[in-house]
Symmetry: C2
Subunit: 729 residues, 2 copies
């Protein structure tokens, strides 16, 4: 399979990007440069110099002729050259004016490190609004405010526009983090792991340049091989999803969203006020975009090490080489848990190893070259696995046993690793306080072999490489658009529903509207009539055919079933009459009180008659609108499965056919859909189509706030909605 990254490499490499002025500045002004040690205006200047920034630096300070030995200018207008990027480190109240100045000077990007804006109440918000207006007027892009900044480790730039204290080596991993604190320790972790970094961005309040913009930029950056993302929410989840979808096909995005527990979300709200309450279905966004999600940032960083050097495997088949027994057992457990398999070796492979390995070696998968095995033994095992057609990746346990030339083993591993034919990860067990093994370690690390200190950790890294292969290969396709739907009719119903009768801006549609709407979108419903007296009900029931369900119907009757407004399995005309008379007594205009709490009964009481369909499997589907994102579509088994076991699955609309199929297969009780204990299975195709039509309906009508098809009765040959509730705005 050919992946886009390989094909597009050349074509995108030289395109000039709007954010180049931010990430690849040729000149930087520091507005608020200061001689005061440890002040931000001093540290940023120091960092730029220390990191060997290749462009020009213009400290701006009205009082000092130079800062840290570099000529300073009173204002940006005094700078004789063009300026690509400006840091702003001055009190917030002066920022709107400075942004206007930057615009006039022709500065394209500004990093506002200063705080005191949207995170600080109304006054700050007003200031942010003011400088944004100026920025828009002059076409200046804003990074921040209240942020760390960016770093570009490309030796062509060495741009350390940040006040943190880690100085990474150039590499291929780029980081974007909402929280500077988290971004900094991720960067530090890559440094400690001796993984190089490409670019870094922590954009604080993110009033203009968003995480999505940065991800998009990293996606187009040829030097970025993988992206690490940390956030506590998205300002514009829909935009992020669209961007991430495209980027994740090209390169892996490893992401972590914190605030996944209620207490965590509260803690997040307290330090990033603006995102409070915007808890959206981040997990689903990650899934739909093909992002590798993590709940553990240490694991995310460790995994990044493998992505920074190794190719993506073409499948799930792993070969293990080990020189010690136990760690191979641990690794096998973890690899298998991650969905990998250990195929047996071919006879050809075994025959080679029989002649090349030590007599006490174990020839199988794992291949145990034993602790006394040396470079030639490891090499032979590596060559064999590289040539095995049934092997996609290689896992190595290498303990630096005192009995062997460990440097030679390392050299052989490195040589094979350099071919980049199949990914290799290594659990490298050694004692770094011994000089002898420091040499071995150096060979391994400089040779680009991802080295871990624990078998489970190394196995998790290989598992993540494989997972990326899986998500990149998974093509969910485009959502089907059913042409024969009656959009006009649906529109009328929904608009009629959004009438002033609804409290707090929304209303539940009456049953006839619900079923007409579903039918307009081709969602099958049990045959029904809405009538308003006893004999019409009898007639309707006769037309539909007994048995029937009868429901008391009025817009004010939402919890019909709880109130005794539903009668099921009505078998003949006499039963119809009895039921309807009873409902009239209960809910009609002459009844003493109404369930809605208003005095007097329901004036518009009608009777909803519907075919009663027993014996099917009860399913549920539903929809809930999301702020800043397309609605979520839900599917599950009805009754206790949804109520007690919470056995439901969600996807973000639009739901494609593949996704709808996945919904059926990913509930825990999915086997019940195939039939068990002698029962027959259900007609899945019908349900898959209902989900897709439901998705189309809510995409077409964002007015729909909530929708429950509960239950859908599914049979061997068909599926019908038999009760539904729709809330529109």
């Amino acid at each position: 399979m050919n992946y886009p990254e390989a094909k597009e490499k050349k074509s995108t490499s030289k395109i000039v990007h709007e954010l180049d002025s931010l990430f690849k500045p040729k000149s930087i002004a520091i507005i608020g440069a200061s001689s005061k040690e440890l002040s931000i205006g001093n540290v940023i200047l120091k960092n730029l110099v220390h990191f060997g920034y290749t462009g020009k630096i213009y400290p701006i300070n009205p009082k000092e002729p130079e800062v840290r030995g570099i000529k300073a200018y009173p204002t940006i207008f005094d700078v004789p050259d063009n300026i690509d990027l400006a840091h702003v480190i001055i009190p917030s109240k002066f920022v709107p004016q400075i942004i206007e100045d930057c615009g006039k000077k022709g500065i394209k990007s500004v990093i506002i490190n200063s705080a005191g804006f949207s995170e600080m109440g109304e006054e700050g918000k007003a200031l942010q609004k003011a400088f944004l207006a100026k920025a828009k007027e002059y076409g200046v892009r804003i990074f921040g405010p209240n942020c760390q900044g960016i770093i570009n480790c490309d030796p062509e730039y060495n741009a350390y526009c940040d006040f943190t204290f880690t100085f990474p080596k150039p590499g291929s991993i780029s980081i974007v983090a909402l929280s500077g604190g988290v971004g900094a320790f991720i960067m530090q972790s890559l440094f400690d792991l001796e993984i190089g970094m490409r670019m870094y961005a922590s954009n604080g309040n993110a009033c203009d340049i968003s995480i999505s913009d940065v991800v998009n930029y990293y996606g187009e950056d040829e030097g970025t091989k993988a992206i690490i993302l940390y956030t506590e929410g998205f300002h514009n989840p829909k935009e992020f999803l669209e961007v991430a979808k495209v980027v994740a096909k090209k390169k892996p995005i490893l992401a972590m969203k914190a605030g996944r527990t209620e207490a965590g979300a509260q803690a997040a709200a307290s330090h990033t006020g603006s995102l409070a309450g915007v808890d959206i279905a981040t997990e689903l966004i990650f899934e739909k975009a093909g992002i590798l999600a993590f709940n553990n940032e240490e694991e995310m960083c460790q995994v990044a090490m493998a992505f920074s050097t190794q190719p993506i495997p073409k499948g799930n088949r792993v070969g293990i080489i080990t020189n010690t027994g136990g760690p191979a057992v641990i690794a096998t457990d973890e690899l298998v848990s991650a969905g990998l398999v250990l195929p047996p070796l071919s006879d050809k492979a075994k025959n080679i190893l029989k002649t090349t390995l030590l007599p006490e070696a174990t020839i199988g998968n794992p291949i145990d070259v034993v602790a006394t095995g040396g470079g030639t033994h490891f090499r032979s095992a590596l060559d064999v696995l590289m040539n095995e057609e049934t092997i996609d990746s290689i896992y190595i346990n290498f303990v630096t046993a005192p009995f062997t030339d460990t440097d030679e083993v390392a050299r052989q591993i490195v040589e094979v690793n350099k071919m980049k034919k199949k990914p290799i990860v290594c659990n490298f067990m050694t004692n770094l306080s011994m000089e002898r093994y420091q040499v071995t370690t150096k060979i391994m690390k400089e040779g680009g072999v991802p080295c871990y200190a624990f078998p489970t950790t190394a196995a998790k890294a290989l598992g993540a490489l494989y997972k990326y292969h899986k998500v990149r290969s998974r093509n969910i396709g485009e959502a089907k658009v059913f042409k024969e739907v009656d959009k006009e009719k649906a529109k009328k119903i929904i608009q009629s529903g959004s009438s002033p009768s609804g409290r707090s801006g929304w209303v539940f549609l009456s049953s006839d509207k619900v079923y007409t709407l579903l039918s307009a979108y081709g969602i099958p419903v049990a045959d029904w009539r809405l009538v308003d007296d006893v004999e019409k009900t009898v007639k309707a029931a006769t037309e539909i055919g007994f048995p029937v369900v009868i429901k008391a119907d009025a817009e004010s009757l939402v919890h019909k079933s709880d109130l005794g407004g539903v009668a099921v399995n009505i078998k003949n005309a006499d039963e119809v009459r009895a039921v309807v008379e009873n409902m009239k007594r209960k809910f009609g205009p002459s009844s003493g009180s109404s369930p809605s709490g208003r005095s007097g009964g329901v004036a518009d009481l009608k009777f909803f008659v519907q075919k009663f369909l027993p014996g099917g499997k009860e399913l549920v589907a539903g929809v809930s609108a999301q702020r800043g994102l397309e609605p979520l579509v839900m599917f599950g088994l009805g009754g206790i499965y949804v109520e007690v076991l919470k056995d439901v699955v969600f996807k973000i609309a639009p739901v494609t056919e593949l996704e709808a199929k996945e919904m059926l297969s990913s509930i825990k009780a999915s086997k019940l859909l195939d039939g068990v204990r002698g029962e027959k299975g259900i007609h899945k195709e019908s349900v898959i189509e209902i989900i897709q039509r439901l998705s189309q309906l809510v995409i077409d009508f964002p007015e729909i706030q909530e929708m429950d098809l509960n239950p859908i009765m599914a049979f061997v040959d068909k599926a019908f909605v038999v009760d539904a509730r729709i809330k529109v705005q």
Copy 2:
């Protein structure tokens, strides 16, 4: 609450233990000491000297007058003094003789490093048997063979009786590992984390001194604060459970069992042949013993760091101090996931912090002292949390911000940490390549503060401390012994069942025996009769009361239901007659063939009549015998819950009342037992009693191989077994 460790400390400290000769040897002979560099007989000698062993070393070598400059002796009999411990590093065929010699010399413990025994086929097994016989004759305890050895870091001994290459500092964590490879990297990991180690043991084939013996020894060792255990199975799981139960009440055991996947177990079998097939319910053993189980050895080592210095919290209430926002969000997520809660601060606490912290600090839980917060701010927050009655433990995020005196912050944390009042863990985010922060780090580490580089990792460590509090506080009690059971009757039935009619040594009991046996142990069953003709069946049904169930019964009819041998809901005498005649035609002596495959029908065909009890909740309980362990008892909801959702739970017998209650509450669908959707709940007490009686029955009769009570029908006021299957040996 007072824990035994506090009370028993004095009493056990000076007891001389049989394994003292192994772990605290005053003199060591190295039989097979060698001048050849990198040979095991050389490395062990080198390690003993390098580690500063405080006792006497006697190299034994028939040819050399000295080895590595130490006087050598031709045989152990030439050594003028007593020898506590001997290493044996000679070819396996000489080992039985040497063990006899050791016995004669009065050596109490021997570490056999040599391989070539039970792991190497029949010849090796015979040699192992031979030296074990000698060991028993002379009272010599054997450690190994085919093993690394032991290490004792107590400065009184400095006994490095091992050929590995990590030299730990003395500390309080002791390690026991089946696999030397895994043991070595765990030891290395503690070293890298700068956690000291107390003792180490890796016992290879473990022919005499077992993992249980070592755990028992560590349990009694005053200097061991926590134990790390790695295994791929147990030779004697029952013994281990008994030992671990006692030790885990005194000190935490952190354990990992590899080979948890099928492929992992296969890999384990290939390197530790002797344990193949002995896959026992390790998870359940760990749970019953109160062991903290891990699937990730890196996490296990990281967690050990907290156990090595911190007290155990008295509850689940944590206070967070942070000087950066994002990491507090991540930590909160993980802490809450681990069952901890973040109580709000008291007004008193808030008032103090309002006067002591910086104005931009956030006063809540988390307390954000902000990045510019210094030592006094951290100290004030620490003091407040130490004094809050609603706080049991403290989590700290400490990033070494450049703007503050980080050494002073560290000193304040250390000072509070030294009080050991409440556990503290710290996510310490710094750049160790900067000299300034190396000092801060040194203060933190020497001050015994467990420092992690990631918030999730630190939070997991605190989560583990809390988990140990929970398991130690959980007292499952003793299993109830129901006195009124008829053990004699049960014995007769089981012995009659173990008749020669069973194939491969086991047999299914016939229905009458099954129900009589259950009744003998007070397990309620639906009223039943076993009869052998039509009219007797009618009479039985009438006595029991309609409706009834009728089952064709014979020992050869196991899968009655599949074959049409079961008729339910029989409402009157005529129906009884029709059913019984039909069964006679199908299975009786005159029928053409029998389901058991023998020609001719079932000669002993009888009819089992039982009260039909519809409308209850279907439950299942069962038992399966385990090699080397008491049987496992299973409980779950019947039907699709057990078949499709696998919603079952296991415990090791004997099951106590608390455990039986936990079984009911820990199935996923446990809410169904309370009643949902208008249904009433079941009589849980009856089911809890059935589980305990079942447990007593299988403990009393190890002949029971398998038992299924399926279903148990549970009602609002009672529960009855309505079908059961018992396999005895």
